[in-house]
């Protein structure tokens, strides 16, 4: 008995030691996370149950702020805008990123390393600076792009008008993040084992065929990752419209994106509770959409 029990006990103690080490390793992060994320979020949830008025101050209101969000046309206007942004901008950005990743990975590109660096470069430029730069370029009368169209006798180009502003922002976000997504996809491509497509190439499949039917399916999960990140990023759209808003004040209202709206409700209208409620509803929608996208993708993949 005792002989047999010893290794069991020993294994048990190893397990205990491992569990202890695991907890010790994860603990610093968890503590920080609790203090800097969980506590503020609980505080925000608590604040969201109060209505904050200039006259009379804060009064407890239960879920009234949440029902207000659901029926707030400003919230849904902004939501519609970022949804359109998501549907148009994300596919363009990711397709271009995928194209560059495949082109560089194919080994058929001259100066591939330099190209990779140039595409990635905008990611190193702070969003604030990027938006300032594009703002100068967009100027409807004397911005660079207008100067060029005027020189070509095409008239001036007002990229800051209400009709064009969403496209102008899409362009800035594309410029900033194509390289970032390209690097994620390219890294995944590098990890695709060569034997997967060697055979196909030997059979005479062209590079486009190899890319479409072998490489892209092989990095499906990396693509999904970039899609999920882009969904989150789109719904959280904030810095670009907020900085561009100075140049296009009439095209970018306070409610341009839900996140910008939450910011203005908090900092301009001084209504913390309502701002928190907007952010929570937005967070919930993001989670639901990310979840749906994943299940759909996975189900589709499973069916193949």
């Amino acid at each position: 008995m005792s002989l047999a029990a010893r290794p069991v006990r020993r294994r048990a103690s190893i397990h205990r030691a491992q569990a202890r080490t695991g907890v010790l390793l994860v603990l610093p992060f968890v503590l920080l996370f609790a203090g800097l994320f969980i506590v503020p979020i609980c505080y925000a949830a608590y604040l969201s149950t109060f209505i904050d008025r200039l006259v009379g101050g804060a009064t407890f209101a239960g879920l009234a702020n949440y029902t207000r969000v659901v029926t707030d046309p400003h919230f849904w206007a902004g939501f519609g805008r970022v949804a359109l942004f998501l549907v148009v901008q994300v596919p363009i950005m990711l397709c271009v990123a995928l194209f560059f990743a495949l082109a560089i990975d194919s080994g058929r590109l001259r100066g591939g390393r330099v190209a990779r660096l140039i595409v990635f470069l905008p990611y190193a430029i702070p969003g604030v600076v990027a938006t300032l730069m594009w703002g100068y370029l967009y100027g409807p009368n004397y911005g660079l792009l207008s100067q060029i169209t005027q020189a070509l006798n095409l008239g001036s180009l007002n990229l800051l008008s209400s009709g064009n502003i969403l496209g102008a922002i899409m362009n800035i976000v594309c410029w900033e993040f194509i390289g970032y997504n390209m690097i994620i996809l390219y890294s995944a491509l590098r990890a695709v084992p060569a034997e997967l497509f060697d055979a196909a190439e030997m059979d005479g499949a062209g590079p486009i065929r190899v890319a479409v039917s072998i490489k892209i399916p092989a990095i499906r999960q990396a693509i999904l990752l970039t899609v999920i990140f882009s969904i989150i990023g789109s719904f959280q759209l904030f810095s670009e419209p907020s900085i561009l808003g100075v140049l296009a004040p009439n095209a970018i209202g306070n409610d341009f994106s839900p996140n910008l709206y939450a910011y203005n409700v908090a900092f301009v209208n001084q209504d913390l509770g309502y701002s928190a409620a907007i952010a929570f509803v937005l967070g919930l929608i993001i989670m639901v959409i990310s979840y749906v996208v994943q299940t759909l993708t996975n189900r589709k993949a499973g069916g193949e």
């Binding site: 205990r16 503590l31 506590v39 609980c42 804060a58 911005g143 296009a248 004040p249």
Partner: protein, 452 residues
């Protein structure tokens, strides 16, 4: 496993505790701490305060205002003034409000534009300076300026600079259109606009949809009184009064005929348009001449300054655009020293002179406004004209009373999506004006004001 579990519960308990601690306090409401009104201060108390080692924090968006603070420190060596620009005027109020909400981190003194004073009064964030003797300063200031910081209940800031409105115009462009003198009336202005468009293809000016400051200044000139506010709950909002409608209707005509541009101001395009004469004039405030001089240097000598065109021939009325006060913030531990600083900065002759000549702030004291060293300056940018004299004279013609609502943040931010949008898109300005009125009224009601 047990140990792991126990640690876990400890973590949970810890964060739970923190949450409970937070939940113990109700959401922060600004101004509760210092809502009690100040006691009158005797001369001996003031003397004592100024001889006690003290550090004051002063938030201001004026580059270089440390120089004037140094004058104060030289006079009262026990007191140190820490001048902080928390990130430009646009974020100063946001940061001030957030700090007030947190009950910590607010400055002793802050630079606050006239139009935002009521919005800080409603949250009890400004110290009433009357008990410290501020009413005695009244005689030093131009009458309408003093009305911006004081009412029957008290004094809530010391005037620092002002923006009485005049008209800066490009003499060269006007001459090209065959016009030799500045328009004296708005009728004349419209005729000049037509001539400039026909002869040069340029606009007489730009009416931006980005910021209502200029337009409200023009309302002010026309005699509109859009707001009355009792400092508590009662608020009147009449943005679509007949006077305002008249101003808006006038500009609608010019915009529709293509005489006036409607691009945002203070951006890259706008500076270029001022540089190359696309905008032949700028109905603007007294702080603008020096600003323009540094912004569009290459047009030196082409500009002239004149009073605003008048609604009736022979009249002499102006409005105001901008200008700010220095207010003492509730919660300061040194209200006496803070008041003394704000008063010194804006009434000491050496300090006000330096503000006017070094920081380019347009003066608010009658003494500086008549100081030959200030008004006598000739400016080459304006062809040798005494521009300060011009605006000093205009300053005497500003309508005495104009009240601001306690919801200026919203007033300004809703403009861009209502009237401002109508202007930018050259749409129906009167409809935009009533949309603005409606939005502001709805917000005021939602914030608990009694609106009439």
């Amino acid at each position: 496993m047990r140990t792991a579990l126990r640690r876990w519960t400890a973590v949970g308990a810890l964060s739970g505790l923190a949450i409970a601690a937070l939940a113990g306090c109700t959401p922060p409401t600004p101004g509760q701490a210092g809502a009690k009104s100040a006691q009158p201060a005797s001369a001996s108390e003031m003397k004592k305060a100024l001889n006690t080692p003290t550090t004051l924090t002063f938030w201001a968006g004026v580059p270089g205002i440390e120089e004037e603070a140094k004058l104060f420190e030289q006079k009262y060596p026990k007191i140190t003034v820490n001048v902080v620009d928390p990130g430009g005027a646009s974020v100063l109020y946001q940061k001030l409000r957030t700090a007030l909400k947190a009950g910590k981190g607010a400055p002793d003194i802050a630079q606050i534009e006239y139009q935002f004073i009521p919005s800080f009064r409603v949250t009890n964030s400004l110290v009433n300076l009357a008990p410290y003797g501020a009413t005695s300063l009244k005689s030093k200031y131009v009458g309408w300026v003093w009305n911006q910081v004081a009412d029957s209940t008290g004094v809530y800031g010391i005037p620092q600079d002002a923006g009485p409105m005049g008209n800066l115009y490009r003499k060269d462009v006007f001459e090209k259109a065959g016009i030799t003198k500045a328009p004296a009336t708005w009728d004349e202005y419209a005729k000049d606009a037509a001539a400039i468009k026909a002869k040069t293809g340029n606009y007489i000016s730009d009416l931006p949809g980005s910021d209502p400051g200029q337009l409200i200044g023009l309302f002010w000139q026309r005699g509109a009184k859009p707001f009355t506010y009792d400092g508590k709950k009662n608020l009147t909002i009449k943005l679509d009064s007949p006077e305002a409608q008249a101003v808006v209707g006038y500009w609608q005509g010019l915009i529709q005929k293509g005489y006036v541009a409607t691009s945002p101001d203070f951006d890259n395009d706008w500076y270029k348009a001022l540089t190359n004469g696309t905008y032949a004039s700028w109905p603007t405030a007294a702080w603008a001449p020096l600003f323009l001089q540094s912004a569009v240097k290459s047009t030196s000598g082409d500009w002239r300054a004149a009073p605003l065109p008048q609604w009736t021939a022979g009249a002499n009325v102006a409005g105001n655009w901008g200008g700010s006060s220095d207010a003492v913030i509730t919660g300061t531990k040194h209200p006496l020293a803070a008041y003394a600083f704000a008063a010194f900065l804006n009434s000491d002759p050496a300090s006000t002179k330096l503000l006017a000549t070094k920081q380019f702030l347009f003066p608010t004291t009658t003494a500086t406004l008549s100081d030959p060293a200030f008004v006598g300056q000739k400016s080459a940018f304006y062809g040798g004209q005494q521009v300060n004299q011009q605006f000093s004279d205009i300053s005497k013609t500003v309508d005495e009373h104009f009240d601001w609502p306690p919801i200026t943040d919203y007033l300004f931010s809703s403009y861009t999506s209502t009237l401002g949008k109508a202007i930018a898109e050259k749409g129906d300005l009167k409809a935009g004006l009533s949309a603005w009125q409606k939005a502001v009224v709805a917000y005021a009601k939602q914030q608990g004001f009694t609106v009439s």
